[in-house]
C-alpha cells in the first residue's frame, strides 16, 4: 500500500552545522507512528521541515502520493498536516466552539455566523472523541488536557490526514493521558495518521504501531512496536548493541554501603504532583552522586524538589543541618545547599547586572551590614573567584551578558561556591560551554569535592557521570530504580542500568 507520507534523503544544515543528514520518515495511512531520539537527534528539525517552518536543503517529501514542499505552517495545514504543539496556539478566553471553528465559521444566509450550527458541529466533533463538555464556555476554563484535545478536534475538523503531536503528555496527569490515548485511537480508527513525539517510552507501547528512531541527524531504525522492547529502542537511540547492554547491566548493580563521610542529604520517596513518583537519593560528604536517566525521567524535578522549589506531595528531605527539608530556596541556601540551574539564561544570569552583582546574589545576606552591603568584602570575594576559576572578563563591573557561555557558567558556579556550601546540586554544569571551559569546570568541581563538599550531579552526558560520580542513582519515569557505584561503572553498565530498570519496571 502506498504510504501517506514519505520523506527521503532530507538534508539540512544550520550555518554549516549539519542537523539532518539523509534523514527519512515513512508513515502509513491510519498509523500511529512514534518518532524518538535523544536531544539533538534531529526529530524537531525533521518535523519543522515537514510542517513548513524550515526549508530543507535537499531531499524529497511525498504526501498522499504527490510531492509536498510546504513553505509555511499554514500551507502544511491546508494540505492536511496539523501540528499540536506543547504550547497551545488557541485562545483561552474564547469559547470552545470559537476555538474549534475559528476561520471556518458556518454562515447564515445573511452572512452572519450561524452559532447554532457552529455549536452543533463542535459538539459533534468532540463527542466523536468521547468528550462531552459545554462548548459555549471559555476554553481556558477547562484542563490542559481538554484544551489539547480541542486543538486536536480543530485539526480533525479541518480534515487533517496527519496529526503531529509533540510531547503531548508532558503536562498531563495520568487520567488525562488516558483520555488523550483514547483520542489518538479514535484518530486511528478514522484513518488519520499520527506522528507521536515523546520522551516517555512507556507510552509508545500503549498506542504506537511503529517507531522511527533518529540519532545524530540520521534515521537509524524503523521498528514494529509489537516486536521490539524498550531495551531495543534505547539501544537504537544510543547506538549500542542491546545484548551488550543487557549483559553489562546484569553485573555489579547496587552494592553495599558503608563509606566514610557524614550523611549530608537524605531524600526519601520524593513525589510531586507532576513528575516524581518515588525518588530516593542520599549524598555524603566528599562524594559525587550522579542522577542518571533519560530525559523526562525526573532528574531536574528531583533536584528542584530537594532545593525547595517544587512542593512535595509525599516523601521527606533531610540534610545534616536541617532535618525538616526546605520550603523555599532561601531556606535551602541557609541550610548550606547550592543549586546550579540547567537553564543558564532563563533561571541563572541577571543579564543587565554586572559580574560582581550576579556572583554575590545568593551571598547578599552574608554581606549585609547594619545599613549597607560590605562592598569591600564583596569585591574581594568576587576577585578571588574570578582568579581562582580563571573567569575571563574586562572588569568585574562588566554586564554578565557580554561574557561567553563558559564564563557565565563559571560566574554562576562561583555564585554557589562563594556560599561555602556543604552540598551542591549541579544540573548540567557543562551544558553549552566549550571544551576548555568544560574541563576547567569539572576540575573545579572535583577540587571542591576533595575539600569535603557533597555534589548531586545531573548530566545528560554519560561520560561525565561515569567518570565523575562515586555513585549513580538511576531514575526512570520519576522513580529511582537502582544505584551503581564506582569503581566499576562503565558507560555500558550505566546504559544497561537505565534500560534494565525499564524492563524491570514493566515486569
Amino acid at each position: 500500500m502506498q504510504p501517506l507520507l514519505r520523506m527521503q534523503g532530507i538534508n539540512k544544515s544550520f550555518a554549516g552545522v549539519v542537523a539532518l543528514s539523509s534523514a527519512g520518515l515513512e508513515i502509513a495511512a491510519g498509523e500511529v507512528h512514534a518518532l524518538i531520539g535523544q536531544n539533538g537527534a534531529g526529530k524537531s528539525t525533521l518535523i519543522k521541515i515537514l510542517t513548513g517552518v524550515y526549508r530543507k536543503d535537499s531531499g524529497d517529501i511525498e504526501f498522499e502520493g504527490a510531492p509536498l514542499n510546504a513553505q509555511s505552517p499554514r500551507e502544511a495545514q491546508d494540505n492536511g498536516i496539523a501540528t499540536i504543539y506543547q504550547e497551545l496556539s488557541l485562545v483561552p478566553l474564547r469559547s470552545v466552539t470559537e476555538n474549534v471553528i475559528m476561520g471556518y465559521e458556518p454562515r447564515t444566509r445573511f452572512g452572519f455566523i450561524d452559532w447554532k450550527a457552529a455549536h452543533d458541529r463542535t459538539r459533534e466533533i468532540l463527542s466523536g472523541f468521547g468528550i462531552d463538555i459545554d462548548v459555549t464556555r471559555p476554553l481556558g476554563s477547562y484542563s490542559t488536557a481538554i484544551q489539547q484535545l480541542t486543538a486536536i478536534a480543530r485539526a480533525v475538523s479541518l480534515n487533517a490526514r496527519l496529526v503531529i503531536m509533540d510531547e503531548p503528555t508532558s503536562s498531563l496527569d495520568d487520567r488525562e493521558v488516558e483520555t488523550l490515548f483514547g483520542v489518538v485511537r479514535g484518530l486511528k480508527a478514522r484513518g488519520v495518521s499520527v506522528i507521536y513525539v515523546s520522551h516517555f517510552l512507556d507510552e509508545l507501547f500503549h498506542i504506537c504501531d511503529r517507531a522511527t528512531i533518529m540519532r545524530d541527524g540520521q534515521t537509524v531504525a524503523v521498528r514494529e512496536i509489537a516486536s521490539t522492547t524498550k531495551l531495543g529502542l534505547i539501544a537504537d537511540m544510543l547506538g549500542r548493541d542491546p545484548e551488550e547492554i543487557a549483559a553489562a547491566g546484569m553485573t555489579d548493580l547496587g552494592g553495599g554501603k558503608g563509606e566514610a563521610g557524614e550523611l549530608l542529604l537524605d531524600a526519601r520517596n520524593l513525589s510531586t504532583r507532576r513528575m516524581l513518583r518515588d525518588v530516593s537519593v542520599s549524598v555524603r560528604k566528599g562524594e559525587i552522586v550522579g542522577l542518571g536517566g533519560l530525559l523526562g525521567s525526573g532528574r531536574t524535578e528531583a533536584a528542584r524538589a530537594i532545593f525547595g522549589l517544587d512542593r512535595l506531595s509525599a516523601g521527606t528531605v533531610s540534610t545534616h543541618r536541617t532535618p525538616a527539608g526546605f520550603s523555599d530556596p532561601a531556606e535551602a541556601i541557609r541550610g548550606g545547599v547550592g543549586f546550579l540551574t540547567e537553564d543558564r539564561k532563563a533561571e541563572g544570569i541577571v543579564p543587565e547586572m554586572s559580574v560582581r552583582e550576579n556572583m554575590t546574589l545568593a551571598l547578599l545576606p552574608a554581606l549585609a551590614g547594619k545599613f549597607s552591603l560590605d562592598r569591600a568584602r564583596e569585591e574581594e570575594i568576587v576577585k578571588k573567584f574570578v582568579d581562582a576559576l580563571g573567569i575571563k572578563l574586562a572588569s568585574i563591573e562588566q554586564p554578565i551578558r557580554e561574557l561567553s557561555g563558559g564564563n557565565q557558567q563559571k560566574v554562576l558556579l562561583a555564585r554557589w561556591l562563594a556560599l561555602e556550601p556543604d552540598l551542591l546540586i549541579l544540573d548540567e554544569p557543562t551544558r553549552g560551554v566549550d571544551v576548555g571551559a568544560k574541563f576547567e569546570i569539572q576540575s573545579i568541581i572535583r577540587e571542591y569535592v576533595e575539600k569535603g563538599v557533597g555534589v548531586l550531579l545531573i548530566s545528560s552526558e554519560f561520560e561525565e557521570l561515569v567518570e565523575g560520580a562515586d555513585r549513580i542513582v538511576v531514575l526512570q519515569d520519576g522513580v529511582s530504580v537502582t544505584e551503581l557505584r564506582n569503581p566499576g561503572i562503565t558507560e555500558e553498565k550505566l546504559i544497561g542500568a537505565i534500560a534494565q530498570s525499564h524492563e524491570g519496571a514493566e515486569a
Binding site: 530556596p329 535551602a332 533561571e347 541563572g348 547578599l364 552591603l373 575571563k392
Partner: protein, 334 residues
C-alpha cells in the same frame, strides 16, 4: 579568550552601523534636554532668571520628583503603580480632617504630628494592598493598582463629602511654604529622599534585590531572594512617598480638594522615570535620573504655560517627551 570579553558590545557595534551614538545620547540625553530647556527659557521666557521662578518650579517639581522616586523602584521590579495620584488624594484629604478636628485644636502639636503621620500611615496601607495583590495574588501590576487608581479618589471625596477644605495652619503649611537656607523646604526634602533611595538601590541588600527581581525573577527566586516581600516593599514605598507628596500639595495650597490632588500624577511620575532612563521591563533604578526626568517635565510645562500656551497643549508636549524618551531607550536596546 581574553579578547572575547573585550569585544565591543552589540550597542557599540550597532552604533557604528547606524552612524548615531544612541548610547551616549541616552546616557546624557536628559542633561542635554535640561540645558536646552534652560537656554530656551532664558531667551524667551520673561523674568525666568528670577529667584521667584526658581521657587515656583522647585515647589511644583517636588511632588513629581518624590512620586517618581517611588515609581522608579516599582518599575525596577517590572511593575507599575497607577495608584500614586489617588493615594496622594487620600493622604491630602485626611490631613486637614485631622488638624481641623476638635482634638487637634485642643492638642496643637500632637494634632500636627498626627495629621502628618496618619495620612502617611494610611498611604503605606494602600501600598500594602497593592503589593499583596501583585505579589501574592499574582494580579498584573497595572490592574492591581488600577483598582486603587479608581477607588482611591472616590474614598478621598467621600471622606471630605466632596467639599473643598480650606484652612490656615502655619505649622502644617511649613511643609509647603517653609524655607531652609533660603530654599523651599520641599526642595530639601526631595534631595534627602533622592539620596536615601539612591543609597538603598546602590548600597543595600534590598536595593540589589529590587534590581534582581526586575532583571530576572526566576534567577532571583533561585538565589533565595524573597521575591514577594521585595515586590510588596516597593509598592509600600511608592505609596508612602505618594502620601508625602499629597501632604505637600495640600500644604502649598492651604486647601484640600480631593478631586484635584495628584490628578494625572501617575503619568507625570511614569514619564519622569522613563525620561530618567528607567527601563519599563525592569532591572534598572536610576534614582537621580528620575529626579532629572521630573525637572524636565516640570520645565516643559512651565515653559509652555509661562509663554501663554494652553494647558491642553502642554499635555500633548508631555506625551511627546515620553515618546521621545521611549524611542531613545529602544535605540539603546538594539
Amino acid at each position: 579568550m581574553t579578547d572575547q570579553a573585550q569585544t565591543p558590545s552589540p550597542q557599540s557595534r550597532s552604533l557604528a552601523m547606524n552612524g548615531f551614538d544612541w548610547k551616549r545620547l541616552s546616557r546624557h540625553g536628559g542633561l542635554i534636554a535640561l540645558a536646552l530647556l534652560l537656554l530656551i527659557n532664558i531667551l524667551i521666557t520673561p523674568n525666568f532668571l528670577q529667584l521667584q521662578t526658581l521657587f515656583v518650579n522647585i515647589s511644583q517639581v517636588a511632588t513629581i520628583a518624590i512620586v517618581a522616586v517611588g515609581m522608579t523602584l516599582v518599575i525596577a521590579t517590572a511593575g507599575i503603580d497607577l495608584s500614586v495620584g489617588a493615594v496622594m488624594a487620600v493622604a491630602g484629604a485626611l490631613a486637614p480632617l485631622i488638624f481641623l478636628s476638635d482634638f487637634a485644636q485642643a492638642n496643637p502639636s500632637l494634632g500636627l504630628a498626627l495629621s502628618i503621620a496618619v495620612p502617611i500611615l494610611v498611604a503605606l496601607v494602600c501600598g500594602l494592598f497593592n503589593g499583596v495583590l501583585v505579589a501574592y495574588l499574582g494580579v498584573q501590576p497595572i490592574i492591581a493598582t488600577l483598582i486603587f487608581f479608581i477607588s482611591g479618589r472616590g474614598i478621598a471625596q467621600v471622606l471630605t463629602n466632596g467639599n473643598l477644605q480650606t484652612f490656615s495652619h502655619p505649622g502644617f503649611s511649613y511643609i509647603g511654604t517653609g524655607k531652609i537656607l533660603g530654599l523651599p523646604f520641599q526642595g530639601w526634602l526631595v534631595l534627602v529622599i533622592a539620596v536615601v533611595f539612591w543609597w538603598v538601590v546602590n548600597r543595600t541588600m534590598f536595593g540589589r534585590r529590587i534590581l534582581a527581581v526586575g532583571g530576572n525573577e526566576k534567577a532571583a527566586r533561585l538565589t533565595g531572594t524573597p521575591v514577594r516581600r521585595v515586590k510588596i516593599g516597593v509598592y509600600v514605598i511608592s505609596a508612602g512617598l505618594s502620601g508625602i507628596a499629597g501632604l505637600i500639595v495640600v500644604a502649598i495650597n492651604s486647601a484640600s480638594d480631593a478631586a484635584r490632588i495628584g490628578n494625572l500624577m501617575e503619568l507625570d511620575a511614569i514619564a519622569a522615570a522613563v525620561v530618567g532612563g528607567t527601563l519599563l521591563m525592569g532591572g534598572k533604578a536610576p534614582i537621580f535620573g528620575a529626579i532629572l526626568g521630573a525637572i524636565i517635565i516640570q520645565l516643559v510645562k512651565y515653559t509652555l504655560l509661562a509663554n501663554g500656551v494652553a494647558d491642553e497643549v502642554a499635555l500633548i508636549a508631555k506625551a511627546g517627551i515620553i515618546v521621545l524618551a521611549v524611542y531613545v531607550q529602544q535605540g539603546r536596546k538594539e
